[in-house]
Amino acid sequence: MSSYSITEPSSRQKWAAGTLVIVYAVITLLPLVWILTTGFKSPVDAIAYPPKVLFEPSLEGYVNLFTTRTRVTPEQLESLPPPASWYEQIVRNRDMVIAGPSRYGERFLNSVIIGFGSTFLSVFLGTLAAYAFSRFKVPMKDDLLFFILSTRMMPPIAVAIPIFLMFRTLGLSDTHLGMILLYTAVNISLAVWLLKGFIDEIPREYEEAALIDGYTRFQAFYKVVLPQAATGIASTAIFCLIFSWNEYAFAVLLTSGTAQTAPPFIPTIIGVGGQDWPAVAAGATLFLVPVMVFTILLRKHLLRGITFGAVRK
C-alpha cells in the first residue's frame, strides 16, 4: 500500500493543518499569556520596553488587587512593628502600609451571584419553554419563536436608556435581582432556541414509553427528557454564563455600588495609586477562573452521542 489513501490525509496535509492550528492557537492565546504573566510582574517590569519575557515573579499585583494601601514616611515605617505577613512585607517594600481590603472580593462575588443566577434562570426557563415549543401545540408557535429570536436582532445596549429609566422607576438599579433579570432577558432567547433544537432531537417515543410505564408527563420530562438534554443544557449554560459573566456595558450603566460586577470594577483599579497594571492583570486572571472551571466541569456533557442508537430510525 502506498501512503496515499482516500480517507486518511497525507502526512504533509496533516503537518500543514497542525501548523495552522498551532499558529492560530498561539495568536489567540498570546493576550491571555500576556495578562497572566503581567499579573506576576512588578509594576516596573510590567511597563518595561522592550517587554520582559523573563522576569522575577512577584505577587505584588495580587496583593494590590485585594488591598487598599496608604503611603507612609520612612520615619513612620521605622516606628511600626515588624510586618506580620508576607503580603504586608511586599507592601512595606513600597513605603506603604495596608489600609484595608479592596472591593475586588465583593465585586467578584457579585459577578458570581449575578452570572450564575441569571444562567440558572435562563436555562431553567429556557428548558421549560423549549420543551413546550418542541412538544405541544402552541398557538402561533412560529410567530412566538420568531419574536423570541428577534429580541437578539439588535445589540442589547441599544435599549440601554429605556432600561435605565425602567430600572430606576422600579427600584432595580444597582440590585442583584435587577441584573439577574436583565441578563436572563438577554440570554433567554438563545436558551430557548438552542434547547429547542436539542429537545427536538430527543425522540418522543422515550416520553411515550415512560407515560405507558406509569409516569406522569412531568415525571417523564424529568426522568427521561432532562437526562438526555444534558448535553444541550450544559452547552446552553456555558453560553449564558459567558455572556452574563463578561457583560460590561449594562454593568457600567446600571450598577455602581452594591451590585457592581467585576468587569466594570477591574479597570478602576488602574486609578488607585498610579498605573497598577499587575493588579489589573491579576484581577482579569482571577476573573477567568470560574468560567474556565465551569466549562471544564461541564465538558463531559458536551460530548455528543449519548442519545444516539437506542431508537431505531
Binding site: 415525571q219 427521561v224 438526555q228
Partner: protein, 331 residues
C-alpha cells in the same frame, strides 16, 4: 389481565382517516394479531388503546371501565414499540426496572431485582444487565424492550411488530417464547405484525385492517380459509393467492368477477393445460410457476418431482374462492 373492548373507535390526522369506526373485543387472555399493510391504522389502534392518542369518536373499555379520559399511566397497559425506545441514559437493568419503579407500581427494590432477573433469564439478556442500553445489538435492544413490558402485569400487552428487526433464528425462538409466556400468564395481548407466520401461529384471533377499517376478525384459520373479500385473501398465504378471471374455469357463480386460488388448492393431472415457466425446489416442497392464457399461476407440485421449465401440466381448481367486481366474496 382484562377484556379490552373497542367500540366505533375513530381517529383522523388532518384529512387522513387513520382509524375508521373500529369495533373489536379482545377477550381476557386472548392473543389478537392485527394484520395490514403500512398505513392501515394498526399502530394508531395500539396508540389509542395506550392513551398516546385521543380518539375522535368511539369508546374504549378496559376491564369493564371506559378509559377514554384516562392518562396512559392510569390505563395500566404495557407497550413494546417498534423502535425499541430504550432509555439511553439508563442501564439495561434500570430500563427493565423503570416501569416497576413508577409511581403507579412502586415496587419494593428486592421484588424489582427478582422480577428483572426472571425476565432477563427468559429473554436471555442476563449477562447484559449492566450494559448501557445503547451498548447492545439490535436484537438485544428489542429483547430488552419486550422485557420492559413483561416485568409488568398490565391489563393488556400491546406489541408493535416487536420481532421485525430480529434475525430469522432469533425471531422464531422469540416467537415461540412469547407465545409460551403469553399462554402461561394467560396474558391479553394485541400484537401488530406483517409476518404471516407470527399471525398464524401465535394468535387466537386475527383482525385484518384496510385503510383504517377492520374488514375481518376471526381465528387465523377462518381468515385464511374463509376470507370475506379479495383484500383479506391476499393478506395471508405465502406464496400469495392466485387471482384469475372467474370465467377461466367452469362453475363460477353468477356475478363472480375473479376467482382466488391458493397455491395448494390447485389439483394437477386434469383440466386446463398450462406451461411450466419456472420450478423452485425448496426442499420440503416444489413450487411451480405456470402460465395459463397470459396469467401467472403459482402452485405446489403434488406428486411429481421432475418438472422442468417448458413442460406442460393440466390443472383445475379444488377449493376456489369467488369474488364479485368490488372484491367481496360471493362463494
Amino acid at each position: 389481565m382484562s377484556e379490552v373492548k373497542l367500540s366505533g373507535l375513530s381517529k383522523a390526522f388532518g384529512d387522513t382517516v387513520a382509524v375508521n369506526q373500529v369495533s373489536l373485543t379482545i377477550a381476557n387472555g386472548a392473543f389478537v394479531t392485527l394484520l395490514g399493510p403500512t398505513g392501515a391504522g394498526k399502530t394508531t389502534i395500539l396508540r389509542l388503546i395506550a392513551g398516546l392518542e385521543q380518539p375522535d369518536a368511539g369508546d374504549l373499555v378496559i376491564g369493564g371501565r371506559s378509559v377514554v379520559r384516562d392518562t396512559p399511566a392510569q390505563r395500566n397497559v404495557a407497550m413494546v414499540f417498534q423502535q425499541y425506545s430504550l432509555y439511553p441514559h439508563l442501564s439495561v437493568r434500570d430500563n427493565l426496572a423503570f416501569p416497576l419503579r413508577s409511581p403507579l407500581l412502586k415496587t419494593p427494590e428486592d421484588l424489582i431485582d427478582r422480577k428483572v432477573a426472571e425476565v432477563a433469564e427468559v429473554l436471555k439478556i442476563s449477562h447484559k444487565l449492566n450494559n448501557r442500553a445503547t451498548n447492545l445489538s439490535g436484537g438485544e435492544m428489542q429483547r430488552v424492550s419486550i422485557g420492559r413490558a413483561l416485568v409488568r402485569n398490565p391489563a393488556i400487552y400491546l406489541m408493535d411488530e416487536p420481532l421485525s428487526s430480529l434475525d430469522a433464528k432469533l425471531r422464531s425462538d422469540l416467537r415461540i417464547e412469547l407465545k409460551r409466556i403469553q399462554a402461561s400468564l394467560g396474558a391479553t395481548m394485541l400484537y401488530v405484525t406483517h409476518d404471516q407466520i407470527e399471525a398464524m401461529t401465535m394468535a387466537t384471533h386475527v383482525g385484518v385492517l384496510d385503510e383504517g377499517r377492520l374488514v375481518q376478525f376471526g381465528s387465523p384459520r377462518e381468515i385464511y380459509e374463509d376470507p370475506v373479500n379479495l383484500y383479506v385473501a391476499g393478506r395471508l398465504g405465502q406464496p400469495r393467492i392466485n387471482v384469475l378471471p372467474a370465467d377461466m374455469f367452469a362453475g363460477a357463480p353468477t356475478g363472480a368477477k375473479t376467482i382466488g386460488l391458493r397455491p395448494e388448492h390447485i389439483s394437477q393431472g386434469e383440466g386446463k393445460t398450462c406451461n411450466v415457466r419456472r420450478v423452485e425446489h425448496l426442499g420440503d416442497q416444489i413450487r411451480l410457476h405456470l402460465s395459463l392464457e397470459g396469467h401467472d399461476i403459482v402452485t405446489l407440485s403434488e406428486n411429481r418431482m421432475d418438472y422442468e421449465p417448458g413442460d406442460t401440466v393440466a390443472i383445475q381448481p379444488r377449493k376456489p374462492l369467488f369474488f364479485d367486481a368490488s372484491g367481496a366474496r360471493i362463494a
